[in-house]
Assembly symmetry: C2
Homo-oligomer: 1021 residues x 2
């Protein structure tokens, strides 16, 4: 029979930190702490396997489970010196849920189990605090009644209110022991009335019923919803931990608190936390007392404080990470209730990593693994001008849901946001709460502020997704969307009024505070001396570690020199995608591009006809010849205008494109630059069909005539002829280049003229010509022939000789399927995973919103949005096929990715697994991508190290062997994402008799954690 | 050294019919005929390998090739008793091209080689015909000058004309020997002047130069173009046959002719051909003499005629197929120049096969292999009255998208089509291009004509589906739908004008040509007694052979009972695809469907909100509860209308859909019926966005207001919200069913209520519910759960128990990639190869016309249109993956195909190779598909037989072993598509001294073949 119960207490534990899967985060944590000699109230954990078994087996347990639990309970009794159900010295226990992945507040917890009509008296006697004992008892009945017996809370609240009203008091705390005793009687009657049975007096029965309720709560609606949102599998199950209770509210020598070993907001190396004497968590929730800074504990109970510092310092070293802990002091005795890696802001994450590396706690590799890629991204967000910020006092504070600073005119609807942004205004969207309809308004805004909703609300999730600063759940605001204003305190903010929000702190300021770019970006741009920025120093130290680790190369998608410049600053090793057509949209170019498009078809037809007639005329004899020649002359005359216009436009575009490429080549200083030939369908460059239709129809309805209308009609005719039902699958990519080879010729000529010019300046140039949307090898053959011909011509003409490559995007499923053929022509593959995802799933990225949201969130069809992270089993399978087939046909073929996924850490890991040579992402994602690349390399080493049959386990091995072993250890840690099992020094003062105190949702700890999470990305994991 | 020259003559030949690859069709044919003792002028063939070698080796030959040729020439001299270059008895030879695949007229041929200033006198002496000799000589110089020396024909024509003018005559034939001798001198001077060297007098040099020119002509432009068009590989090379010349124009005992062993137009068993006494092919081309029916030969030269009958009869038996032959009679002696399988009409093909089977020449299996699937299809189309058709000249020609003849009044809108058809008029629908809205108009019409779109355009696909004749992409038409007319050249066709189209040829005629339905269809429908139709008798006999062979099962795509009925008539064994939404377009249903769509989103939102509020209200307590209940009541009130409208529409659709399915189940009498849930995006059922935009804008411009306009604006709002950029990749298929589960529920309920009702009538019903557009197993899980729940509910309610399946389309690439997951839920897979092709290639079928035409024809990017025949390497690879993975996960999983490819013979063969259980095609393709299925079975047996190491080769083997051997032989023949090598009886009269005659392009044979090909599908092979 598998082991279902894991005991912990007295310095020993059956489990350890590696057993999160089985014991949940909570169970594994208390086991590990107990093992480490930390004073933890003893108890035992029922495994997640038991939970799965219970669900699988129609909610029944192995037969002797109850008996086993009672045996474990006996061990707790032995350690605490108290007895469960004992009339004089009763042991009380809590029953808590705890899954592998933290789901705060989603599942149920029951405290004070073990109290009944008799033991309540024993508790009163032992503590000498009758009111406390009766309060515990009434809370137990209330909580048990609601959670276990499913009785509406309202029924208990009613009694409580009636009692207070009768006694003429307002606060619960004014209730006397006598009041509470009476309430207990009322509550028991309520249980009998609603549940049809009495509140169970048998403590063992209480325990078993509570256990079942907690297991049941794994599948309550809010837990299911939460798992859907955070992509947590539904079949993990929860563990249940039964732990002896300690109380911080038994007198002045008791108390409770939470803290962090370093400041999780700023990253400062200061012991940080809050504390309340003679208190329980609920007292803080009730708002009657303000918690004290933890330093106060040093004054009140210096020994306890010293012990706490020692223990938490040990915990930080043990877990090799900054800790977030909860503790209770009961009658001068310290108990640790929980410790875990602290949530942190991006800045703190980087600072922790760098500082701890400098302290010698972490290796550079470990430091790299301590910072989430998105944490790093936070360092790059705009911030308020620090000096100017000082002039603005926050008027409200909400939840810091998405970091960064934003300011602009307040607007109260998505439409207004879009409207004002359309005319160049900066706006902050304010809503009671946002809904999917608001997305376009959010997109158009600088930031988003909501009155309700938590860090997982729509606004928060979408805000983070968009990288928009976002403050949510700012309950102090009274938002009146109808009147288009909100009030906060005495302030009224109306539509158009200036407003600023700080998504990193959750603060709301009235007035427009200038924002500025991150110091890091300013330093990189040379706008700020590096020495003046502490932020940059940390960034720089951290990126040095990243560089040291290495990993798959990172390039950037950049179309203009400014982007290329930025990419270089962040350490890009090349350009993975330059979209040549992006430059076509420039105001001065669009008319030329439109001319090219408007005459392309006609010119092509004329050229074809002329060529055919030339051939005919050459062959013809006698009068026929004259006839054919006349026809030819006529065709030449007819075709001369469209051909001239078409070629003329191309001739005008050539120097402009050449200029674009010159800038890129010069900026990239010898790093490879991949330039893609024209990709979008031509109609994208023309006015919209339906708009023209409306314009013309209206003009006609108004009786207009004349050349302007006729010209519009001709334009519409051309637009109609280019109209496509599914442009995504239409006449674009290399299909255009094949139909209009002159466009490819012009672009390739511009590339090589620029490259030769830069080469002439003495700089290395590595142009890589990339043909988009290839599905059949013949498409690539056709375009490659043009590219090679023009390249050779140009080099010959300029007398330069360059190394260059011609390759293709792999973005059409067929290309992946026949990659072995395509590789015979392609010198490189670059995965265009945007289109590949669109076609593999059959999702139009522009349209999929309609169902994809449901797919990903509600209907649970897809585990993640495939446009965010590569769908490994489908799209990834095609990529794997391409890699294998491509390499088989052309060993050493260069492989990269230039889709949006190139900046997504999970996708980067996958690309690294495939052995791609590089990933390419937007310039401002380069640092993040480099971090993700380094992390994935470390993780892959870990996997490799794990796979090795032999692994050194002793610390005292010979020196030369140390390094690899250390790497393996780091790697193993990274891989399993659990802390390394390190021998730690035994504590100086082992914990003894635990008694009372509690930490629970709503506890001050939760509040502090909330602050500490500032900017921490809640969505990940 | 390989053998480069293959001799034939004197009853012996080095080559045979199986060596087409090496000797070309011509070389293999004369070798086989020579071997068979047929009188053929002797000669020799230079192999295609030599051609390839020549191109590979910079146009040079193995050193001793000339010497080898002369040795072979000596053998020809020996057999003919003449001598090449001899002054008194000169041998003349022709040098002809001949590739493996026939490329009529594309490459060069040179006749009369061996003539020079001396031998011309010898020829004159031997034939006693001085004029003839000089005429041959001047023709040689003219042809040689043009083909070998690349001199413009014009130069020779000019001399000829000048001579005729000087002599005051018009016809070449009026030129005297003297004239021709003078012309020879002029021609020689022309050669000297233009080529810079004299016409070569050395016959051997003439021969070698002619040989080189013919090899060179393999790569002339027109040959390259031809190969591109007909998908003939460019690396085959041509063979060159040097053959002694015979002449049909040496007097009254000479002549030339072409013929067929049976009538290739009607299929009648009559000896069929044309003949001219004392003539060469050119005489017919010049149009001076009318050829005589071949029967005339019997009167003029009965012995020759008898010999010809005997020889051609023997050829037919030898090749086991009807022959198309060319012959020349020189001085009473018969020479066969060419024989090959005759091109034939569909009707002739079936008749030949059935007749020859009845004659015992062919086995039923061989008969099945003798008819191309498209031949069979021709038998089913409506036809023009053959006599009356002659009076109408085509005014335009488009793409022959759906075969058959149609005539009626031209109409320019679907509405007009329906309106006129409603009052009994026959109409032809003319559109710039069709869209889904036109379907009802197409249905009501006799045929469809469009100006744009390819063979895979909407009109073409729907036309074939409906069996409507259809001509598309007729770019010569300028269609003005607004003015309701089109112009073509000087013709203007207005609405109501009579119009005829021939979907078999793509021709458009002005005027109404009477048509009638195929007799076969009339018999199957019971409109004509079977005994009255000869056509039906042949069809019926032939299909009996097909049935006997069997092969992969054939189902039909049918949405309504009438289609199902037709499918059954043609032998369909089930319905592979019923598109439930096609029924939504019916006039009486569309408003209901639109109501459903217009309220779906709002109803869904309301239902979700109400559910959420219900939950909240249940949980709330105190005054909050009242508040929540008020909110709930409000939401219920607000939602009541949309919900009622949405559900109301579904309730109205339910009985209508049930009625549809009732009809299908009853018609299919126990055969399985696969019904697909709703597939297209909802906006397809609503008015067009841009049309509404224009309407509203115009109304506003005109200052209109009021409720009608407001209603239109509301409608536009909804249409806008449903608008998609790429509908093909949008919110459709199972994505709709997941978003709006009520639609799936209604459809499944209709299916099972109908099935249960039919089961109640005592009939077997096998419903197969098919979920479209699945890409992830969870999508199928979701929809399957609904289907199973409703199915079980309905069966329980009706008390019936049915076997049923729930499966999926495999049409999204991802589905194929993860087929092993999907098969865990799917009980069957049906390949939707239309969409699979669209997504695998990234081609929108509606838009691809723009480049696909170039891809397939000019640019040589793709070998075939992937929407016509399955792209085996890309799309086919995904299908193979699906089959393998699907079977691995669910052994015995049912597999089929329901895309357009299900009716394409090449694709059917591929499906058979994959081992699919069935193919499904449009009802009128069922017979064709069955034939293709039978043929592919025979071919696969052939491959299997070939693969067997032992194979009986002796004809006198023991009887029991015969059958398998016969099967193997049939199969081997089918596989290689070359005739079996059968021992044949030696001829009674071996041919002796051949002399003169010729057949060449432009020969009457070509004319007859052209007629005979009427309707033969030129594109295939």
């Amino acid at each position: 029979m598998p082991k279902y119960i894991y005991f912990f207490g007295g310095g020993k534990a059956d489990g350890d930190a590696s057993m999160k899967d089985l014991l949940g985060g909570k169970g594994a944590g208390v086991a590990e702490m107990t093992r480490a000699g930390i004073p933890v109230p003893p108890g035992f954990t029922l495994t997640t396997q038991l939970c799965r078994l219970w669900y699988a087996d129609r909610k029944s347990f192995p037969k002797d489970l109850d008996a086993q639990m009672l045996q474990n309970l006996a061990r707790v009794e032995a350690l605490t010196g108290m007895k469960f159900g004992d009339a004089t010295n009763p042991l009380l226990v809590s029953v808590r849920s705890g899954a592998k992945v933290s789901m705060p507040g989603m599942m149920d917890t029951i405290l004070n189990l073990g109290l009944n009509d008799k033991t309540v008296l024993g508790l009163a006697g032992r503590t000498g605090n009758e009111r406390f004992a009766w309060d515990c008892y009434r809370r137990l009945i209330q909580m048990f009644g609601n959670v276990v017996l499913d009785i509406d809370k309202e029924n208990f609240e009613r009694s409580l209110k009636a009692r207070k009203a009768a006694r003429g008091i307002v606060k619960d705390t004014d209730l006397t022991a006598e009041d509470l005793r009476a309430l207990v009687e009322e509550f028991k009657a309520t249980v009998q009335a609603h549940a049809g049975k009495p509140f169970p007096q048998d403590p063992a029965r209480q325990l078993m019923m509570a256990r079942d309720a907690v297991f049941r709560s794994w599948n309550n609606q809010r837990a299911i919803d939460y798992r859907n949102i955070y992509k947590i599998p539904h079949d993990l199950g929860t563990a249940v931990t039964v732990q002896s209770m300690v109380f911080g509210n038994t007198g002045d020598k008791s108390g409770t608190g939470v803290g962090f070993t370093r400041d999780p907001g700023s990253g400062d190396k200061v012991f940080f936390g809050e504390y309340l004497t003679n208190a329980q968590g609920e007292d803080v929730v009730a708002g009657i007392r303000t918690p004290l800074p933890i330093a106060q504990l040093d004054k009140e109970m210096p020994e306890v404080f010293a012990q706490l510092r020692e223990i938490t310092g040990r915990l930080e070293r043990h877990y090799r990470d900054v800790q977030d802990f909860e503790f209770t002091v009961q009658e001068g005795r310290l108990y640790m209730l929980q410790t875990r890696s602290a949530k942190r802001t991006g800045f703190a994450a980087v600072r922790f990593a760098v500082d701890m590396m400098k302290e010698g706690v972490l290796t550079p590799e470990e430091a790299v693994l301590r910072v989430e890629p998105d944490h790093l991204q936070q360092l790059l967000f705009p911030v308020f001008d620090r000096e100017k910020r000082k002039a603005f006092a926050p008027v409200a504070k909400g939840l810091n849901a998405s970091p960064g600073a934003a300011s602009g005119a307040a607007v109260f609807s998505a439409e207004e946001s879009v409207r004002r942004a359309g005319r160049g205004e900066r706006v902050v969207l304010v809503r009671a709460e946002t809904c999917p309809d608001d997305v376009k308004g959010m997109k158009a805004s600088q930031g988003v502020l909501t009155a309700t909703g938590g860090r997982t609300s729509h606004a928060a999730v979408v805000g983070r997704q968009m990288g928009k600063p976002c403050v949510v759940g700012c309950g102090m605001l009274a938002v009146d969307e109808h009147a288009r204003q909100f009030t906060v305190g005495e302030h009224v903010v109306r539509e158009g009024d200036a407003l600023s929000i700080d998504g990193t702190t959750g603060e709301v300021m009235i007035g427009e505070i200038p924002t500025r770019e991150s110091d890091i970006i300013r330093v990189l741009r040379g706008e700020l001396p590096a020495a003046e920025s502490e932020l940059f120093a940390y960034y720089s130290d951290f990126m040095a570690c990243v560089t040291k680790v290495g990993g798959v190369k990172v390039r950037a998608n950049a179309d203009v020199p400014a982007d290329a410049e930025a990419a270089r600053h962040f350490g890009a090793q090349g350009i993975g995608l330059c979209r040549t057509e992006h430059m076509f949209f420039a105001a001065e170019r669009l008319p030329i591009v439109q001319q090219m498009i408007l005459f392309a078809e006609e010119a092509k037809r004329a050229m074809t006809e002329i060529a055919a007639l030339e051939a005919k005329a050459k062959k013809a004899t006698g009068p026929e010849k004259a006839e054919e020649e006349a026809k030819l002359a006529k065709a030449r005359a007819a075709g001369s205008e469209p051909i001239a216009k078409y070629r003329g436009a191309l001739d005008q575009l050539l120097p402009l494109q050449r200029g674009d490429f010159l800038g890129l080549f010069r900026t990239m200083k010898g790093f490879p630059v991949t330039i893609r030939t024209i990709d979008p369908p031509l109609h994208e460059f023309l006015p919209k069909r339906e708009e023209l239709m409306v314009e013309i129809a209206v003009a006609k309805a108004k009786g207009e005539t004349g050349e302007a209308l006729a010209a519009k009609e001709r334009l519409l005719e051309r637009v109609e002829s280019l109209h496509e039902f599914n442009p995504m699958l239409g006449h674009r990519g290399c299909r255009l280049g094949i139909t209009f080879p002159e466009i490819t010729e012009m672009q390739v000529r511009a590339i090589f003229e620029a490259a030769c010019e830069v080469a002439g300046e003495g700089q290395t140039v590595v142009p890589e010509v990339m043909i988009p949307l290839v599905g059949h090898v013949n498409e690539l053959k056709d375009q490659k022939a043009i590219a090679v011909r023009i390249a050779e011509e140009t080099m010959k003409r300029t007398g330069r000789k360059l190394a260059y490559l011609v390759g293709t995007m792999i973005e059409v499923p067929r290309a992946a399927l026949v990659a072995e053929e395509i590789a015979t022509e392609a010198q490189f593959f670059s995965f265009g995973t945007n289109d590949l995802t669109q076609m593999t799933f059959g999702y139009s990225r522009d349209d999929a919103g309609k169902f994809l949201k449901e797919y990903v969130q509600d209907s649970r069809v897809l585990p993640t949005d495939p446009f965010v992270s590569i769908d490994r089993s489908g799209v990834g399978q095609l990529m794997r096929l391409s890699v294998e087939k491509g390499r088989a046909a052309r060993p050493g073929i260069k492989l990269g990715i230039c889709g949006e996924h190139g900046g997504d850490p999970d996708s980067i890991e996958f690309c690294a697994m495939l052995g791609l040579d590089y990933v390419s992402c937007s310039p401002y994602r380069v640092a993040v991508a480099r971090l993700a690349a380094a992390q994935s390399l470390l993780r892959s080493r870990a996997t490799a190290a794990k796979a090795k049959p032999e692994r050194a386990t002793k610390r005292d091995a010979a020196a030369p062997a140390r390094k690899p072993r250390r790497a393996a250890r780091v790697a193993a840690k990274a891989s399993s994402k659990v802390v390394a099992e390190r021998a730690i020094v035994r504590p100086t003062k082992p914990a003894a008799r635990p008694a009372m105190a509690s930490a629970r949702p709503g506890h001050p700890a939760t509040r502090i954690i909330r602050i500490a999470q500032a900017g921490g990305k809640a969505r990940r994991k």
